[in-house]
Symmetry: C2
Subunit: 230 residues, 2 copies
């Protein structure tokens, strides 16, 4: 196997704990909304909110308006604002890298690997995450689905990333938490694939061909893998 | 003159320095965008941004997209995200009450005045400000233009506030920075009017009838005025 020259990363649940962030932000928002007068129990409200996020998508800007509506409340901007303040404060507080994220990225740079991001999401929103995580200058290439019109697991988004970083598939690794998005597409183009067991670790592989080459608990394990792969 | 029983406040440039906040947030956003690759001078970019805010309104969510467009840049989510992160961080940092805001509100409550807010803006956005300023529980009545369909200086928004707080016009004072919005309408309904010389202090009175009863440099001066008015 040829020497790996470039390592690509997913963002959410790979560079930071977006599952914990989202869950905690929603819990704190619900508590604040109840504190401001929402007449629902915490569990009932959480269940309803999760349903709304699923129905309208995570980037829909009026989840809390919908929560009031679906629970038969009159529109109440005080309650919505209380939820938004708690939600945004929590999102910022939890938007920090896993403790091994930055040391691992720096070690990879020290070893002359090219580094890239391949992420599904809105371009400005994903860049805001990289900036707040403090890693925006570390990557040579950043590929975001909404900007390119391609989306993981489409192999074309991986081919685009490889072209931009200047590598053949066999010279690059893809590291992410989701088999269905990160691993499946990267396997198809022939990259080395590493699944990180962070976040929800949901979406188990449906077919043997979607199995990652490696499964690791932490980002720093990529260093050993690359040493082994030569 | 009958005894004053209720005191109403504007929010922006009355409870906190929204002019300093907005100017500093824009400056820091421009610096961050230039740092991320925007090829404009700081002054040129500030001028262009001010023009865009004026053209599209302050609540338009794509000022930085427009800035890139108007200066002939390609769309660049990294530059826009850098601006947004700096802008929002600065907005939060500067969203603090004037140093006499909370002590004055508490003194008024101690003296059994009813307290209210009459503000122009989006309902959720204005509530978010009250919450982040930490004064959301201090007010008996909060009237926001977009929620009521009325807007300062329309005398009807002042009449609605008076009705909700349970006072006649002669029993209430209105305190705000803008003669054209806060003072003009409150004068028309017959409230005691106090202009606070904060923020831009622009929009001087156009007619003698729009003159405030008092002009004061600080919020705490309302305490002396109320003592004098009985």
């Amino acid at each position: 196997m040829p020497k790996i020259k470039a390592v690509f990363f997913d963002v959410d649940d790979t560079l930071y704990d977006s599952t914990l962030q989202a869950e905690t932000a929603r819990k704190n928002a619900i508590k604040a909304m109840i504190g401001a007068g929402l007449s629902l129990g915490e569990q009932e409200a959480m269940k309803s909110l999760k349903h709304i996020v699923k129905k309208f998508g995570s980037n829909y800007p009026r989840h809390f308006h919908e929560l009031l509506k679906e629970s038969g409340h009159d529109n109440n901007p005080h309650i919505i604002a209380a939820g938004l303040v708690a939600y945004h404060n929590t999102k910022l507080t939890y938007l920090v890298p896993f403790r091994d994220t930055v040391p691992t990225l720096l070690s990879l740079r020290d070893r002359n690997y090219k580094l890239g991001v391949i992420t599904n999401g809105l371009a400005v929103k994903q860049w805001e995450k990289l900036i707040r995580l403090g890693v925006q200058h570390v990557f040579d290439v950043v590929i975001i689905s909404k900007e390119t019109g391609l989306k993981k697991p489409d192999p074309e988004i991986f081919r685009l990333a490889l072209k931009e970083i200047g590598c053949n598939p066999g010279e690059a690794a893809m590291l992410g938490d989701r088999v269905d998005r990160d691993i499946a597409g990267a396997n198809e183009v022939g990259m080395l694939t590493v699944q990180l067991m962070k976040g929800r670790r949901r979406n188990p592989p449906k077919e043997p061909k979607e199995e990652p080459d490696y499964v690791v608990p932490d980002l720093r394990d990529i260093l050993d893998i690359l040493e082994k792969e030569g």
